[in-house]
């Protein structure tokens, strides 16, 4: 394996594009080094993007924030601005691993690793976050829900690198939340994850909502019927019941040691319901 740590994204793209054989971007390494050490992947070239200065920046943009692809979970969690605007995204990223893992793991790496159980992805999907991708053909901006297509599979072409993720501006009276179920309180992979973002009208009714579920299908699911159950309501019991039913109905999970199909399906509804109430509380400010 060759290891390269270029200073610019253009050099990084060129190295990846020109390389023969298997290549991997190295961000925090908390997935890819585990895969490398266990022999799951045997890259010929690994391109470390952390020497690219701009990738470490969190910058305000158009009322939102652009988060560089090398920003660690720990760094994101220390950013008061992002925490205030998108608390659900930050809490989802902070659920990844331990303090040690947080010191390295990135949001972009969580997305690009394309695990159906990746904790930040449901939160990013409901936030309508946009990945800014640089590749041999130039730059393109892609909504995060168009990045992954299945376990370990993405729509990134050879040589393409996610440079940053834009968390957009949001209307007043908006809130988001992410909850996951794991059998312990720390350090485990989500059995189910639920992200919700919503905006309230002045009279307290729900003007807009997005609901996404993790670990209940081969990709993170954006569940429109679940969002529709909230829109127009005050998140009363009937609306929350309808939300939970729609969330459960969308699930097509696997049966494994972490949870049965039945369990995951039920828990998806429960978590969606709880996350909606938290998002509502945050939207009220």
């Amino acid at each position: 394996m060759r290891y390269e740590a270029p200073d610019t994204i253009d050099q990084a793209v060129q190295m990846l594009a020109e390389a023969d054989g298997l290549t991997r971007v190295l961000a925090g390494g908390t997935d890819v080094i585990v895969q490398l050490r266990s022999g799951m992947v045997e890259p010929d070239l690994m391109v470390d993007i952390k020497r690219i200065e701009a990738m470490h920046a969190i910058t305000a943009e158009g009322g939102g924030f652009r988060v560089g692809a090398a920003v660690s979970g720990a760094q994101l969690g220390e950013h008061e601005g992002v925490k205030a605007l998108w608390p659900g995204v930050v809490e989802a990223v902070e659920l990844i691993g331990s303090t040690q893992v947080q010191g390295r793991a990135t949001m972009a790496g969580n997305l690009c690793n394309a695990s159906p159980a990746a904790d930040s992805v449901p939160a990013l999907v409901v936030a309508e976050a946009v990945a800014s991708i640089v590749g041999p053909e130039g730059r393109r901006d892609v909504p995060v829900d168009e990045i992954t297509t299945g376990p370990g599979k993405t729509t990134l072409a050879k040589g393409e690198i996610v440079e940053s993720i834009l968390l957009p501006a949001r209307p007043a009276n908006s809130g988001d939340a992410y909850l996951r179920f794991i059998p312990r309180t720390e350090m485990d992979i989500a059995v189910v994850g639920a992200g919700i973002s919503l905006t309230l009208n002045d009279d307290g009714t729900c003007a807009a909502a997005r609901v996404a579920l993790g670990a209940v299908a081969e990709v993170v699911l954006l569940v429109e019927p679940a969002a529709d159950a909230l829109i127009g309501s005050r998140l009363d019991e009937a609306a929350l019941d309808a939300l939970a039913a729609a969330a459960s109905a969308a699930c097509r999970p696997i049966d494994d040691k972490r949870g049965t199909i039945e369990f995951r399906t039920k828990v998806a509804g429960v978590l969606a319901r709880r996350a909606a109430v938290i998002a509502q509380t945050r939207a009220r400010g």
Binding site: M1, R2, L26, I33, R37, M46, T99, G103, M187
Partner: protein, 158 residues
């Protein structure tokens, strides 16, 4: 494979080494530099026995390449004591019998030091969450948590 030349700083001292591109920092520390205080419990980021700091951030050295340390400030367990003078955390671990076999201890100490540098007065819950990535198969954790809280208490009084 051609080896990579790395210039770094470990516990304040400049260090140079050659390593393989796919070699972890943990392997470099232990096998090339003789710094065997950092332990390998799992090699997959789960146990924290390999904890070090890199530019002040707590990380698992088993999940970082040796090559990545170029130009960085690395802190290992060997940097805790000053000569014969144990770090207050080390003294409290002994006092509270917060170790049995000792394999997890370097990782706990490095992680706890990093906590106290950020938060000199942590609650028990904060200590437990911060140390959730450090596994111990012997002590049952309670003595470790007490030792960290007691260190914070004493350092505040000092």
């Amino acid at each position: 494979m051609s080896q990579i030349h790395v210039s770094t700083t470990i516990n304040g001292d400049p260090v140079e080494y050659l390593c393989e591109p796919d070699e972890t920092l943990l392997d470099v520390l232990r096998d090339r530099l003789g710094l065997t205080g950092s332990k390998e419990g799992c090699g997959s980021g789960d146990c924290g026995a390999c904890s070090v700091t890199v530019d002040g951030r707590l990380v698992c050295s088993c999940l970082m390449l040796g090559a990545e340390a170029d130009g960085k400030q690395v802190g290992t367990i060997e940097g805790l004591a000053e000569g014969e003078n144990l770090h207050p955390l080390q003294r409290k671990f002994l006092e509270h019998a917060a170790l049995q076999c000792g394999v997890c201890t370097p990782g706990f100490l490095v992680a706890a030091k990093s906590l106290l540098e950020r938060n000199s007065d942590p609650t028990e819950t904060e200590v437990r969450y911060w140390l959730a990535g450090n596994l111990c198969r012997c002590t049952g954790y309670d003595k470790i948590v007490r030792a960290v809280l007691d260190t914070a208490h004493d350092m505040k009084g000092a």
